[in-house]
């Protein structure tokens, strides 16, 4: 800072001219930039507001970029989930217990439909939008769902769903195909040639959760003694006839059903004196023959129940194990081989195909797997995992239905078909729930979409009002400015003229 530039009195006149000139230059700059100043120092007392609004505008720009991307994701998710809900309804119609029509390839027509639906579902779940897999949680690099062939039939050393299902069927039906029960031959005592009593025993083949579990026996037969069941595991009971029952009398045996053994199956047999129909046994010539008839009737009823209802239950059990992997759940497989005498399950995660390969860590809310920050305090969550319950149920029921084998075309197969379709209907349309799991997800997404659109609109409006305010703070009014410039110009010219006249008016020029 050189001292030479000190203001000296002599230059005051020209200094005033310079200051007008400077003001004129400043105004011209304002006119060309449209801004009152180039720095915040010059915008006046609203500079903090100006800064904050400018920052907001910058943020809104970025929020809107995010919104553009999220919008695309959400739109696609909406469409996909809509279609998936449609698939669920289609699946529900396909599980028609009254439509057992076998085709040449051994599948029922409804199975063929289900298979198509299964493929479409898997395809929808693998939807990708510009590198983002909609149903893979946070995993966005791979298809979250394996292909249907791998899921059903396995891959290399890893077992597929059909294998798992088969193992569960074997384990539940047992070697006797009667739900893991042993029904002994008769033990008859005679007085001479006349049988005095005849006994057979029905016993569980071991301590496990598979197959039928003997619960209780209600005896209404005359001359019949039931010993047991004792309530232990394995449980058993003896049926001893010491004389002939009377026609119309009944005996009912209650079994509990796997896997939880809360549901029951009650076998009730009625004594008949001629032609024995369903759930009847024939009173024979003597008590030994009657006992034999009773035993056989029990045995065949159990076998039929095992191959229809119990098999359907085993299929569903296997499906639950295979498909319910949400929040890191593992697939438990029957401990075997041999499977028909298995007594437990083992962790099958290393030996089984994982149908869902997306993000599967424990979460309380899978929506949080994908976030979009669309406002200062508004983060939209719209992640989804293909193994969430609603979607899993659809996949599970379709796969179970497709994997089932009804190709024999027998009455048993038809009954099995009826039971399985009924059960699968319940899976995709659980009793007591007004809205499907898929609809729940779709609702979440629809709400997110709505929020997104409203936020976008709000941003557009806010941005425009912010821009107006910033314009008012930073900007200049061109009309006023033009007037000011004009005035300054006039002042400056007048001053030049006046100065010139003043300097001219010297006696020097007149003497």
């Amino acid at each position: 800072m050189p001292v030479g530039s000190l203001v000296t009195s002599r230059s005051y006149l020209s200094k005033q001219l310079t200051s007008i000139h400077k003001a004129l230059t400043e105004k011209s700059t304002q006119l060309s930039t449209g801004k009152v100043s180039t720095t915040y120092g010059g915008v006046g007392d609203n500079r903090l507001l100006d800064l904050q609004l400018t920052q907001k505008i910058g943020q809104i720009d970025s929020y809107q970029e995010t919104i553009t991307r999220a919008n695309l994701h959400l739109k696609t998710m909406n469409l996909t989930l809509d279609r998936m809900e449609g698939l669920r309804l289609d699946a529900k119609s396909a599980y028609d217990p009254n439509d057992f029509e076998l085709e040449a390839d051994g599948q029922t027509q409804t199975q063929s439909t289900a298979e198509l639906l299964l493929h479409e579902t898997a395809n929808l779940l693998n939807t990708e939008v510009a590198g983002y897999y909609l149903f893979g949680g946070t995993d966005t690099t791979n298809n979250p769902v394996a292909d249907i062939d791998t899921i059903m039939n396995g891959s290399g050393s890893l077992a597929g769903f059909r294998t798992i299902s088969d193992e569960y069927v074997q384990a539940n039906l047992g070697a006797n195909n009667n739900g893991r029960l042993d029904i002994s031959a008769l033990t008859t005592n005679y007085l001479g040639l006349i049988p005095t009593d005849s006994t057979f025993t029905i016993a569980e083949d071991g301590a496990h959760d598979f197959g039928f579990d003997i619960s209780s026996v209600t005896n209404g037969l005359s001359n019949t003694t039931i010993t047991g069941p004792g309530g232990g595991d394995p449980d058993s009971f003896d049926v001893t006839l010491t004389g002939q029952p009377v026609q119309g009398e009944t005996i009912s045996i209650e079994f509990t059903l796997p896997p939880n053994h809360t549901d029951t199956y009650t076998l009730e047999l009625t004594a008949a004196d001629s032609q024995a129909g369903e759930n009847q046994f024939l009173i024979g010539a003597d008590l030994e023959e009657t006992t034999q008839n009773l035993r056989d009737a029990i045995s065949s009823a159990l076998e039929e129940e095992a191959q229809t209802n119990l098999k359907a239950i085993a299929n569903q059990w296997a499906a639950d194990e295979f498909f319910d992997t949400y929040n890191g759940g593992t697939t438990m497989r029957v401990d075997g081989p041999p499977y028909d005498t298995a007594t437990g399950v083992v962790d099958g995660s290393a030996t089984t195909v994982a149908w869902y390969t997306g993000e599967n860590s424990v979460t309380t809310n899978p929506r949080e797997d994908k976030r979009a920050v669309i406002d200062t305090n508004l983060t939209l969550n719209y992640g989804a995992r293909a193994n969430e319950q609603g979607i899993t149920d659809l996949m599970k029921s379709l796969a179970t239905f497709v994997a089932a084998d009804f190709s024999g075309g027998t009455t048993t197969d038809e009954k099995y078909y009826n039971t399985l379709s009924q059960n699968m209907r319940t899976v995709v349309s659980p009793v007591g729930e007004s809205q499907s799991g898929i609809s729940n997800i779709a609702t979440d997404i629809a709400i997110a979409y709505r929020t997104l659109e409203m936020t976008d609109d709000r941003h557009t409006q806010m941005k425009s009002s912010y821009l107006t305010t910033v314009g008012e703070i930073e900007g200049v009014d061109n009309d006023t400015l033009a007037m000011e410039i004009l005035q300054l110009q006039t002042n400056l010219e007048t001053s030049y003229r006046a100065s010139s006249i003043v300097f001219q008016l010297s006696l020097v020029n007149y003497i």
């Binding site: 800072m1 050189p2 001292v3 000190l6 203001v7 000296t8 009195s9 002599r10 005051y12 200094k15 005033q16 801004k35 100043s37 180039t38 720095t39 915040y40 120092g41 010059g42 915008v43 006046g44 007392d45 500079r47 903090l48 800064l51 904050q52 400018t54 920052q55 910058g58 943020q59 720009d61 970025s62 929020y63 970029e65 995010t66 991307r69 999220a70 590198g131 983002y132 949680g137 946070t138 995993d139 966005t140 690099t141 993000e359 860590s361 797997d369 994908k370 976030r371 979009a372 920050v373 200062t376 305090n377 983060t379 930073e474 010297s506 006696l507 020097v508 003497i511």
Partner: protein, 617 residues
């Protein structure tokens, strides 16, 4: 009265006219010279007994000057130069920090950081999104670095200018001494002193611009010049000497060199301590206060931005022992500068906030409550140099000894603070705020920025060596480990399992840290005050700083303009009072010409009368 007398009178008239013409000619010739005062010649006329002029003495050339206006003008100069200097520098500061629509301004870059982070939340695994965050962070760090360096450069310029002005001050005082000598000589020789006085006024005018001075006339032309608060600069025709050494390297937060003035009597005083105005006062204030404050603001931004990302809260576990319940806290992650916060209610139901600040250097203890920016807390320092948490707990037990709290070591070196049912003392919360030392498994925080002032160090806001944040804006840089591996922005966990590469949790945490988490900012940077520090997000604070600098620049500019107007008015009045009016001088010249002609005519007439007289004889 005889002819001789008339001739004499005419001769004296011509003599006097000559003198006047000389002075008038000099006035006209110097009319445009700055500081030249109009001169006039005065005359003493001597008469004989008959009333005839017997002689004149016309050596007395005097200045025409209004000393009241002169004093007001000189007095106004100091403040004008001060305000001009301040406005010049603060205007430059404003340009550095607050240029509108400048993509590389701090506010734009901070917005850019928040924008890239919000994009990252939406797409965490994207390499491009990660790189965007890093590049925005680098831009921000570099902007801080360069702004800090520019401001330091301005401090250096102020220092250099101070050096020049100190020289100038010394030279001016010396010149005063010289001219006073000449004045004495002129007076002794009976010569005119007007021109010398003009010269001396010019020196005083320049002095007045450098600093605010008080001038006292000690009589016989001797001046006493002192600073505004009475320190002697010039007395009895003797100048004080001025010495200033430029500061080689201006240290962050430290004042630069001073100007030492030594009076002829040998007393030395620090000039900068004794002046508040003038261009020297302005430069000193800029160098040691205004620019330092701007740097502190940058340091605060750098520090709080850094801490917002790198610090995580360590939660305590609720604990109940017998009747007493409270919390147990793991202290093992504490680093120097990290804090432990305790909130409790005493018997009277009043809430108390206690903050423990970790230090490595025990000599800093005990800490004042001002060690944290918060106004509502009581601060205790704990020495963590032992690295042994049990030792920290012992210190905390001692610090809380006066309360009814049951403070103890839980047996594993963890801090356990329990209430006291007897006195109804309740522990509300106990947390620690620690800087992460690794990129994973320490929560969602990430050391996005590191301190590169000396090597690469984590920024923990340590209080050692004057505080780590002092000069941090100069040393802040994006963590090189992060630059090498941008996936650190996403991967925050390796045990028990590696988090998904698409997990938005960390990105969200970092975004919140920048835009939503409010902290109290150190009032030492000029924003807010100690009793109610500014609280807000880092982003808001950056806006505050920009606005503060803008406001400062505008105020300085307004003040400078106002001062300028005042001084210009004084200058105009002053100039009118002393300047040469060429018209008047010329008119006067014609008058003189006529007078001269008249005197000459008298002489001619006398001559003719003599001739007539001689011829008639």
């Amino acid at each position: 009265m005889g002819l001789t007398s008339a001739l004499n009178t005419a001769r004296f008239g011509i003599d006097y006219n000559q003198k006047q013409i000389e002075v008038t000619a000099a006035n006209i010739a110097n009319a445009d010279q700055v500081g030249y005062t109009a001169k006039k010649v005065s005359v003493d006329v001597f008469f004989d007994g008959q009333g005839n002029v017997s002689g004149i003495q016309s050596t007395q050339v005097t200045r025409i000057i209004d000393e009241r206006i002169q004093a007001a003008y000189f007095g106004s100069l100091a403040e004008t130069n001060y305000s001009y200097q301040i406005a010049d520098y603060t205007g430059r500061l404003d340009e550095i920090i607050g240029t509108i629509e400048d993509g590389s301004s701090m506010t734009s870059l901070a917005t850019e950081m928040s924008n890239t982070l919000s994009s990252l939340v939406n797409d965490p695994s994207s390499y491009a999104a990660q790189q965007e965050v890093i590049s925005a962070a680098q831009g921000f760090a570099r902007e801080l670095n360069s702004s800090y360096a520019e401001i330091n450069e301005m401090r250096q310029q102020a220092d250099d200018a101070l050096a020049q002005q100190a020289d100038k001050l010394g030279d001016l005082l010396q010149s005063m001494e010289d001219i006073d000598e000449s004045l004495d000589e002129a007076r002794a020789a009976g010569l005119s002193t007007a021109d010398l006085l003009d010269e001396r006024d010019r020196y005083i005018e320049q002095l007045s611009g450098l600093l605010e001075i008080k001038i006292t006339d000690q009589g016989e032309g001797n001046l006493l010049i002192r600073t505004a608060n009475g320190q002697q600069l010039y007395a009895n025709g003797k100048a004080s000497t001025v010495a200033f050494n430029s500061t080689a390297a201006l240290q962050p937060g430290k004042a630069g060199g001073t100007i030492a003035v030594t009076t002829p009597g040998g007393t030395t005083f620090d000039l900068l301590q004794n002046i508040e105005s003038g261009s020297i006062g302005a430069l000193a204030e800029l160098r040691d206060e205004i620019l330092v404050e701007a740097q502190t603001q940058l340091d605060t931004i750098a520090a709080e931005m850094s801490l917002a990302f790198s610090n995580v809260t360590v939660d305590s576990t609720a604990t109940t022992v017998g009747l007493e319940s409270g919390y147990t806290l793991d202290l093992s992650a504490l680093q120097a500068g990290n804090t432990v916060s305790l909130t409790y209610q005493d018997t009277a139901g009043d809430t108390h906030e206690v903050t423990f600040v970790a230090v490595e250097d025990a000599t800093l203890l005990p800490l004042a409550n001002s060690a944290t920016a918060r106004a509502d807390d009581t601060v205790y320092g704990i020495d963590i140099s032992s690295g042994n948490t049990a030792n920290y707990v012992t210190q905390i037990i001692a610090a809380l000894g006066g309360t009814n709290l049951n403070v103890s070591d839980d047996g594993s070196g963890n801090l356990q603070v329990l209430g006291d049912t007897g006195t109804n003392t309740i522990v509300d919360s106990l947390t620690a705020d620690v800087t992460v030392s690794s990129s994973t498994d320490q929560g969602l925080g990430l050391a996005l920025f590191v301190d590169k002032t000396e090597g690469v160090n984590d920024f923990t806001d340590a209080l050692e060596d004057g505080g780590q944040r002092l000069g941090y804006a100069w040393g802040i840089a994006v963590n090189p480990a992060l630059v090498a591996d941008s996936s650190q922005l996403v991967n925050y966990q390796t045990t028990p399992s590696v988090n998904s590469p698409n997990d938005p949790a960390r990105a969200q945490y970092l975004l919140n840290a920048l835009t939503n988490d409010t902290v109290a900012f150190d009032s030492g940077a000029g924003i807010g005050n100690a009793a109610s520090p500014y609280q807000g997000t880092v982003m808001q604070y950056i806006n505050q700083v920009t606005a503060y600098q803008g406001n400062q620049a505008e105020d300085a500019e307004t003040y400078s303009n106002a001062r300028d107007t005042v001084t210009t008015n004084f200058a105009a009045r002053y100039e009118e009072s002393y300047s040469v009016d060429v018209d008047a001088e010329l008119a006067f010249l014609i008058e003189l010409q006529n007078a001269y002609a008249a005197s000459a005519r008298v002489m001619q007439t006398v001559n003719e009368l003599y001739e007539t007289l001689l011829n008639s004889i």
